[in-house]
């Protein structure tokens, strides 16, 4: 983390924050600590509560119950315009009747900054987002990416200790999005401000964040680094939301040291005990699975038979979708150097039981995944 971070960024504490609209709970007891200067991403499908959380922090939405501290001070009941928090919106929200320069100067004018200093700070903020030459243009003369960079400059020009971004790249095309992701990362490093970033795009979350909070149905499922979420998902929902995964369901039997799962007549096992879950599932990452032709010597302890249903060339490797005996689909990442397979080929999938994650089956994950 940036050494300046401790001085510039504000910590955020959400303590069992709830927000109800009638009987619908948009937020259901969300607790989250965001460290000063941290880049925290709120990730989840639409309607999961991530944007509501952002709006609560920004002051656009009241909380129904719970505590919210920014920089150690409670901000419950403080109106948005007194919170001194920068916000970047998906729809840019630039003032169409003002030039780029006046847009960026707006928060400084409100704070009574003298014209000389105002000019210097506007120029610095526009330079930071590489829009220094556009101060005299109107927003309608700019492309979407340029408008969003101006909006970013406007949100950081008054040095807020906290910057909130609500799917800021959602309306832009992929190439531009990837470039702006790196720009945002650079700006975060340079400023040391706490960033809270909302997205439904797990790849974007992995690229940007120090830590990610995964939202589902108004609750946080898990908070951790991208690697933690990928390698050690706490719930099936997280495992499926972050990265590709294969989920094995079947009849489970535990003998104290390992758990066996019978999937359509074939039994696989993992050297781990059940923690009282009645119906566990096994979650496997695509690179942990190996493909063999039936009868070949297999590495790993477990085998499942299946048929190649889809073969996708990815440049750096291949991705196979394999239909298993119980009609579920396994996803395998396979190096180009390995043997290649065609559609309809009968294959066996092998994996080391130690690589399988045993998770409780929250069938809700199926309905909320998009």
């Amino acid at each position: 983390m940036n050494p300046r971070a401790q001085n510039r960024g504000a910590a955020i504490d959400l303590d069992t924050v709830s927000k109800a609209y009638g009987s619908f709970k948009a937020l259901d007891g969300v607790s989250l600590r965001i460290e000063p200067g941290e880049f925290m991403t709120l990730l989840g499908p639409s309607g999961s509560g991530k944007t509501t959380t952002l709006n609560v922090i920004a002051g656009f939405t009241d909380v129904t119950s719970g505590k919210l501290l920014v920089g150690g001070n409670s901000v419950v009941g403080v109106p948005a315009h007194k919170r001194n928090i920068g916000v970047v919106f998906q729809h840019y929200a630039l003032f169409p009747h003002m030039t780029v320069g006046r847009n960026v100067a707006y928060p400084l004018t409100l704070r009574g900054i003298k014209p000389d200093e105002r000019k210097a700070r506007v120029a610095r903020a526009l330079d930071m987002v590489k829009m220094g030459d556009f101060a005299h243009r109107y927003p309608s003369e700019l492309s979407g990416g340029q408008q969003q960079r101006v909006a970013l400059a406007r949100a950081i020009v008054f040095d807020p200790p906290l910057l909130l971004m609500d799917e800021p790249l959602g309306a832009l095309d992929k190439k531009l999005r990837e470039w702006l992701q790196l720009e945002i990362k650079r700006i975060h490093r340079e400023l040391g401000t706490t960033f809270v970033y909302v997205t439904h795009d797990q790849e974007e979350a992995l690229v940007l964040s120090d830590r990610i909070a995964v939202f589902n149905r108004g609750r946080i499922e898990q908070v951790g680094t991208g690697r933690q979420l990928y390698d050690e998902p706490a719930t099936l929902f997280v495992g499926r939301f972050i990265g590709d995964s294969t989920v094995l369901r079947g009849k489970a039997r535990s003998d104290g040291t390992s758990t066996a799962l019978t999937v359509a007549g074939e039994t696989v096992s993992a050297p781990r005990r059940l923690n009282g879950e009645t119906s566990p599932v096994m979650l496997l990452r695509p690179e942990k699975l190996a493909i063999r032709r039936p009868g070949q010597d297999a590495t790993g302890t477990n085998r499942l038979s299946g048929t190649i249903a889809e073969a996708i060339y990815l440049g750096s490797g291949s991705k196979y979708e394999v239909k298993l005996a119980d009609a579920s689909t396994a996803i395998v990442r396979w190096p180009l150097a390995g043997e290649s397979f065609g559609l309809g080929d009968k294959v066996e999938l092998c994996f080391d039981g130690a690589d399988a994650k045993l998770l409780p089956d929250d069938s809700t994950a199926d309905t909320t995944l998009t």
Binding site: A58, G59, A80, H81, N84, G86, F95, P107, L110, R154
Partner: protein, 265 residues
């Protein structure tokens, strides 16, 4: 699609006919105002400025003109303030009661003017508002309010309220947000509402005929009584002046708006 020459000629002729039909009655007034004789005959005979002179010097005409200016200005301000506030309130209300209230406020546009006039006259007799400035301003404001409401509402409908949220996040309180973001963006609607309100009051005749008295006449009332009493070409002179004044006003407004829009694009 490319048009055949014949089609083009026919289309042009039809357009010209419609244009003449629309404008001719108005333009007839102009030559009549320079008539030498005291008659409203068309085509006029001779040439003279005397009716313009009469308009400027005859107290009947000049005072009614000033009355109309006074009433219309007050109505424009009052109706614009009230209409803008109403438009805001309705915009931020729940849809169903808002639509009901909106219909209620728009009724002066659909209720026949005579009916409205009778009602207002009956009330004014008791309240002793007949022939008073207050009476005229109140009555005309009822008629002008819907125009402001429509103009401002149309602007609010396309106004992006998320800009207000953005302004709040940048540190602007509700009043500052209104002054610096909302007002500038709906100003075209407010200004056109103001213009409509002024025009509505300035040429209102039906209600005015009922609530006028010899001490307070507006210009349309004066025109009407003058033309029913004698064929005074001063009417034509007044008409010509009004024609040029409104052309200048609207044309200037359109030029200004056009320039602003060009600056933004």
């Amino acid at each position: 699609m490319e048009m055949k020459p014949l089609t083009r000629v026919i289309l042009g002729l039809v357009c010209l006919l419609v244009a003449i039909w629309l404008v001719a009655p108005t333009l007839v007034v102009v030559p009549m105002s320079f008539n030498e004789n005291k008659s409203l005959a068309f085509p006029p005979q001779g040439f003279s400025w005397q009716w313009y002179q009469n308009f400027a010097t005859n107290p009947d005409w000049s005072s009614s003109f000033l009355n109309s200016l006074k009433v219309a200005s007050l109505v424009a301000v009052l109706a614009t303030v009230l209409g803008t506030l109403a438009a805001f309130g309705l915009d931020r209300m729940k849809a169903r009661p808002a639509n009901l209230l909106r219909m209620l406020m728009l009724t002066p546009m659909v209720v026949p003017g005579v009916v409205l006039a009778i009602g207002i006259y009956a009330v004014y007799l008791d309240a002793q508002l007949v022939g008073t400035l207050t009476g005229f301003v109140l009555a005309h404001t009822i008629l002008a309010l819907p125009f402001v409401l429509i103009a401002v509402s149309a602007n609010l409908e396309v106004f992006d309220r998320r800009l207000e949220t953005a302004a709040a996040s940048l540190g602007a309180g509700a009043l500052t947000t209104f002054r610096t973001v909302t007002l500038p963006l709906i100003l075209p609607g407010i200004l056109s509402g103001l213009l409509f309100a002024f025009a509505t009051s300035f040429d209102e005749i039906v209600v005015s005929l009922f609530i006028t008295n010899p001490y307070l006449k507006t210009l349309p009332v004066q025109i009407f009584s003058s033309i029913t009493r004698d064929a005074d070409p001063t009417v034509a002179a007044v008409g010509t002046i009004l024609l040029f004044a409104t052309t200048l006003l609207i044309g200037g407004g359109m030029l200004l708006l056009g320039r602003e829009r060009k600056g933004r694009l």
